[in-house]
Subunit: 387 residues, 2 copies
């Protein structure tokens, strides 16, 4: 495969975008990425779009055609990828493979979700369709319920505390205040998290990601051509994707995700890097326990110590290994299909030194971690700045 | 890119499979493909699955994880692709790119749709979500209505007759009788077609593809390794994908599909072949006019002469260029996401000489043509037997 680099990034503001349509959002994110790359749109050879449930949220499938059309990119190939909350991460992977293979040169990877055009109950119903419909959704197990089972087991096995979990949300809300594109710009305290209404015990409202609208976009090029578009190409040096059982009850363990571990293993191997080489990471914190389990499975700390290292400040922006400097899913918002791409946008900005008030110092290597459902799919990418 | 070949194929029977679940269908098709390749399942490195609307049809998104899980393939990467009726064709393309790039060796491309678990009205509503929701579906334009507009214009510009269109359905039903996996095993006559109830004039009931359940699966390998699994590798020598406006009203013409023409151009160019080199083709006949327009846009006859060459018998199994020997979407059935893969299954069987009573003589080069919606997406593959 050819070496592949990010040469342009862009995203919309994340939030409840009542006055912005699906069509407008994707064009806004795409235009920003194209401007960022200083590129003519006609250079683009293909596009991949991550989206979970436009069919359910806005009664529109076949969104790749809609997007190619409304962004003026037809007749180039445009392909939609769906893998629940990992849709964006998988779109990035397919775009990378397409450039790597040589079949296309300049390829866009985008992600989008418009979740607020339906009432909240319909939104929750749509979200439940990415768990095991017959064995989980049908009996009323929402995603917070599934992650609550993992949290309880983590507390039981390792003594992880509700305060440690709350600290994940506190940190990510703090980071989000420094990100103009984030949904939530309010600092929260551990007490506020602990006293927020229970969603599914032990998880409380301020520990679960919000319903969010948003789109994000990155432009990929062969590394050898990347300097035509940017002074600082961000190479994708590692990529891994893996599956696990869709239902939680079929897994050997509730405290680690096999899919994350396998995807990370493949990504580290491809990159020739180890967890200790990573300078910062954007990981899936759809709930607070998700981030704790993720940093363990990615090898950033020992299994069971995710809560403790959070408490010790390792994951803060000025910590030893900043996690979710963008604000993460909790603070920045979680427009499902857009999340995996937005993670790549943040890593690119950080590695270029363009992250403003939330800039991580001496960032050269970054990692993104995006999972679908309760971990039925996971995808990991490792990025390295090429000066 | 490395050269890529089909080494195993399989599918379920197409039809109203009341007693077979989504999970059972994909395993049945996959098992047949693996048996056909004489391969251990553990050789498989990744899987792509085409599916249009499991979220709407069976309230299950994230089906790639479900499939990896239930087919025992986890933790390998498994990715769902959606492009309306072209979902299967695009899954095949991504699988080819993945093998071609070298990131995976053995890759499965599958397609599936379970359409009969909802009532017919819900099925039609789901189908309408792949047209332009705001400008077509919302005002009640179903797919037969959109294709009826194309048919009327084709009749107006070229004198195409209702009898010529009916002959497409008569031929494809005849072919389907020779295919054990087809949904419809009844011969029909031109009179029966003409007298069947109007769906949207000039299109009648017996001119429109049915609601169908089904799954299909092909296994791809690098050509240089293909002989480990088969004596007759079927190489994918050409591949093209293109987009067009999602809505019909934005197009310059109603009598040709820009997406088909662009996709075909790319596929012929990659293969170094011309339309006259093709020995048989499986094309998208979701309505009778669709097949007529397709064979024109693919270069098998001049624009406007699709009806006439059908009347003259060119497209019959024993004609100069057999079209849809499998029975096509009309006769074999059209389980949306499975269709593009099932087309590849038929071409592989034909090129291997294993198509039984519907065998096309001296078939060495075959083509598949799969479109999404009213042509917002098109994908063309060209296959060549490697003896």
């Amino acid at each position: 495969m050819r070496r592949v680099a990010l040469v342009g990034v862009g995203q919309t503001k994340f939030g409840e975008l009542w006055d912005t349509s699906f069509r407008q959002m994707i064009i806004e994110a795409g235009t920003r990425a194209i401007e960022d790359a200083g590129m003519e749109g006609e250079k683009i050879g293909a596009m991949y779009v991550g989206n979970m449930s436009a069919g359910q949220f806005i009664h529109q499938e076949h969104i790749a055609s809609l997007i190619a059309d409304h962004s003026g990119l037809a007749p180039i190939p445009c392909t939609r990828i769906e893998a629940a909350c990992a849709s964006g991460g998988l779109a990035l992977r397919e775009a990378m493979i397409a450039v790597g293979s040589g079949i296309h040169d300049i390829v866009v990877a985008a992600g989008i979700e418009k979740m607020t055009d339906v009432i909240a109950e319909q939104s929750l119903e749509a979200l439940a369709t990415v768990s095991d419909q017959e064995w989980e959704a049908f009996v009323g197990a929402t995603f917070p319920a599934l992650f609550a089972l993992m949290a309880r087991r983590h507390m039981h096995e390792f003594g992880t505390t509700e305060e440690q979990m709350a600290l994940v949300a506190v940190k990510n809300h703090h980071n989000a205040r420094l990100n103009a594109y984030a949904q939530h710009h309010i600092e929260i305290t551990v007490d506020q998290v602990l006293q927020s209404p229970p969603i599914c015990s032990p998880l409380k409202m301020l520990e679960c990601a919000s319903i969010t609208d948003g789109a994000a976009c990155v432009i990929l090029a062969p590394l050898e051509e990347a300097r035509k578009y940017t002074d600082t190409p961000i190479e994708i040096v590692g990529a891994g994707q893996a599956s696990d059982t869709i239902a939680l009850h079929d897994r050997q363990s509730l405290v680690n995700l096999r899919s994350t571990r396998e995807a990370a293993k493949a990504a580290y191997q491809m990159a020739g890097l180890r967890p200790e080489d990573v300078d910062l990471a954007e990981v899936q914190d759809s709930t607070t326990i998700s981030e704790i389990i993720a940093i363990e499975d990615l090898g950033f700390c020992k299994k069971g110590e995710g809560g403790k290292v959070t408490e010790d400040g390792m994951t803060a922006i000025d910590g030893a290994l900043p996690i979710n400097p963008s604000g993460g899913l909790k603070g920045k918002g979680h427009p499902i299909g857009a999340t995996g791409i937005s993670q790549a946008v943040e890593i690119a900005l950080q590695l270029r030194g363009e992250a403003g008030k939330r800039q991580v110092k001496n960032a050269e290597i970054g990692l993104t971690h995006n999972i679908g459902g309760s971990g039925g799919t996971a995808v990991v990418h490792i990025f390295r700045r090429q000066d």
